[in-house]
């Protein structure tokens, strides 16, 4: 499997006003590392507000003006510059956005999905994907506001399919879809991956991720704390590496439904060392001293000194 996308040490910070006039820089994503290979689905799971969507926007060069990004993004081994991403965006790298507001409200969806060109090939392709996602012929003429939440999301997924892309970044593609449709969507991502494309699936729904992904990157407070093969996740506590991932596993309704205390730190006052240390049961003094690097462990990666 050849490496398609590699993100090394990405940090994103925002220039913001605090109460009144003080301007400050807050780091929302810290030293994040992930990689996606051809044929792989990497699921990024984490709670809302952990910076998952920002990662997608960072890769695609869609950050707002007051954001600064550091670190390296490699696409097919070469650095992803601003100019290069502009060429690749939509052609080789496609985004399935989180919100329906990404659709143009004044354009009929069929036209929107196939882009503003009229040729037989494209129309055929668009009709095909509409069929696949249970969007009936009548819906082609509708405007975005006339779609239900689920239909709009399916339309968004169709848009990403139109070009011959290599990397698909799907930002929460399933909320608003019921289980069956969500699974259908994800299976389609699976098919694409099996055909040799890379998929970066950003979601908060671990259950769904476990169903289709190859690897899972666990996000916490703007960084990855663990990257694990799905098979290790299914083994539960023994298979997993990071205390946070173990806590996630134990909190699932089918395994215990136990909640660890505390809350994800606010990005304005992140702990100095390990971001999870305030909630961690095995944390020692060392954990709060300095930043913990990512390290290899049992075929995965973990950001914890004591993980075994």
């Amino acid at each position: 499997m050849s490496k398609l996308l590699e993100v090394i040490d990405m940090s994103i910070s925002f220039k913001m006003y605090e109460k009144g006039f003080r301007q400050s820089y807050t780091q929302v994503i810290n030293n994040l590392c992930i990689k996606v290979s051809r044929g792989e689905i990497l699921a990024i799971v984490g709670s809302s507000g952990s910076g998952k969507s920002l990662l997608a926007h960072g890769i695609l060069g869609l950050l707002p003006n007051n954001a600064t990004m550091t670190g390296k993004i490699l696409y097919e081994g070469k650095g992803l510059t601003e100019k290069r991403i502009e060429e690749l965006r939509g052609k080789k790298i496609a985004l399935v956005p989180q919100s329906v507001t990404y659709l143009d409200p004044l354009m009929r969806i069929a036209k929107q999905v196939r882009g503003n060109v009229k040729n037989e090939e494209r129309i055929r392709k668009q009709k095909e994907s509409f069929r696949r996602y249970d969007l009936c012929e009548n819906s082609e003429k509708l405007f975005p506001y006339q779609l239900s939440g689920g239909m709009a999301r399916r339309a968004l997924i169709c848009t990403a399919e139109q070009e011959d892309v290599d990397l698909i970044i799907a930002d929460e593609p399933t909320p608003g879809l019921d289980i069956e449709l969500a699974m259908k969507t994800l299976r389609y991502f699976r098919e694409l991956a099996d055909k040799g494309k890379g998929v970066l699936l950003i979601t908060h729904d671990i259950d769904l991720a476990l169903n289709v992904a190859d690897n899972i990157a666990v996000f916490y407070a703007g960084t990855t704390v663990e990257i694990t093969p799905v098979s290790d996740f299914l083994k539960g506590e023994e298979g997993l590496r990071h205390p946070y991932t173990k806590a996630l596993f134990n909190a699932m309704p089918q395994n215990g439904f136990k909640a660890v205390k505390g809350y994800q730190p606010y990005y304005k006052d992140l702990p100095k060392g390990c971001l999870y240390s305030p909630r961690c049961t095995i944390a020692k003094e060392e954990c709060s001293k300095s930043k913990i690097p990512m390290r290899q462990l049992r075929g995965g990666m973990v950001r914890c000194i004591y993980a075994t």
Partner: protein, 203 residues
């Protein structure tokens, strides 16, 4: 106490019926899961049961009587999107105070830090806000809770934390609960019985 939806049908103007002749009932102390595909009108049914929407046909009865139009509604709805159930211009303390005095033990149990009370909603994440909209209705005036996909957007730890507090409260105060969810595992974990809203009900 008994909360009943009798022959509930609902349609918007100039559309087909979203659902027809739904009969659903919950007793105090009972936890009922409500499971349906998207687009089948789960949210609308929740709103009808809590008195936010009027059914096109049928009625909602609490102990045989209609829901009150004024004053504290004994049937409270917790909505999927906490950011829509909280005024963005209000401090969190005032948000809680709208429902009555603050129960500090309860908000601690549900994971609300006391310094969040002085913040505005924009300064909190979705999961943190949802704790507030749950805490707000956990008081002695509430007799039934309709929870509409309240943990869909949350991570599993927050989900477990919030649900554990709700279930403890519901059991202690003998409250009836309708949990709308599409998470099979969650429904199996917490519910006494599950009500499926299905195509057959759509007439």
């Amino acid at each position: 106490m008994l909360l009943e939806g009798k022959n509930l049908s609902f349609k918007y103007k100039n559309t087909d019926y979203l659902f027809e002749n739904i009969n659903i009932s919950v007793e105090s102390g009972e936890i009922v899961g409500l499971v349906a595909k998207s687009g089948y009108g789960k949210s609308t049914l929740s709103k009808i049961l809590a008195g936010y929407e009027t059914p096109t046909k049928g009625q909602v009865l609490l102990n045989g009587k209609k829901l009150p139009n004024k004053g504290y509604n004994p049937v409270q709805l917790i909505y999927q999107h906490p950011e829509k159930s909280i005024n963005p211009r209000m401090k969190m303390r005032d948000v809680l105070l709208e429902a009555g005095p603050i129960d500090y033990d309860l908000i601690k149990a549900i994971g609300i830090e006391e310094d969040w009370l002085t913040r505005y909603p924009l300064e909190l994440s979705g999961g943190e806000l949802q704790r507030f909209s749950v805490a707000r209705v956990l008081n002695e005036k509430t007799k039934f809770i309709i929870a509409d996909e309240i943990s869909t957007m949350l991570d599993v730890i927050t989900q477990a934390q919030i649900w554990n507090v709700i279930i403890e409260f519901v059991n202690k105060r003998n409250i009836g609960l309708v949990a709308v969810t599409h998470n099979k595992h969650l429904a199996e974990k917490i519910c006494n019985r599950i009500f499926y809203l299905e195509k057959e009900n759509r007439g």
